[in-house]
Assembly symmetry: C2
Homo-oligomer: 109 residues x 2
Amino acid sequence: MDYHAYSLMLKAMAEPNRLKIIDLLSCGTLCACDILEHFEFSQPTLSHHMKVLQNAGIVSAKKEGKWQHYTLEPTFITGFQEMTTALLKADDQCLCHEAKSCDCSSTTL
Amino acid sequence: MDYHAYSLMLKAMAEPNRLKIIDLLSCGTLCACDILEHFEFSQPTLSHHMKVLQNAGIVSAKKEGKWQHYTLEPTFITGFQEMTTALLKADDQCLCHEAKSCDCSSTTL
DNA sequence: TCAACATATAGATATGTATCTATGTACAAC
DNA sequence: GTTGTACATAGATACATATCTATATGTTGA
């Protein structure tokens, strides 16, 4: 389980405004000005958020003339859901395969 | 789309140590001392992380004598994956159903 | 070339948070 | 009751980050 990449995605997603940006992009490509319309914050703040999303591998950018077009990375869409599934299902790493040192497991639950 | 609850979960999950705690709990219930064994940080720090996970609805706690037993919330496991799916698939909210004001959409992609 | 527009960068500030030490609380065993 | 154990709380500190204003960069059109 690669905690680092997954944690980077989660951290980028955890900001409510960025979550909304992802939701907006889930329908397709948008330029910065279209995204900005949906928020109260300033243009540099959007620029900051888009950079965070790119660094996390969530969004890719493609410049067309003056405009910056943003798209959700297909590898993110599939990868994130796969890692989520891997996280939440019991696997080899879990403690039940290891020796217990704490007494609490000897008590009757 | 309830950004708030989902964002609370994401924020709680975004910390690498908490991510590891969730992975450990994915196999079943564990007490605090068993979890603490897997980390370098102090006991109060674990206590802090467990409270964050509980406030996000990710983990529930049940006290048995001296010991605090932590379990992944079943509602979190299903709910988180549902909200993730809802976020990443195109839905009614997306911009393509609204009027564009930005000129970028008139250019040939 | 110049002006207008779209976006990025720099630097400052305020707020959030992960961590620690010290201490408190609750329970168990003697 | 006293002592030891498991965990929580309080308060402090260091670091991250979301936001702003001001400015720079790059592109288009006149």
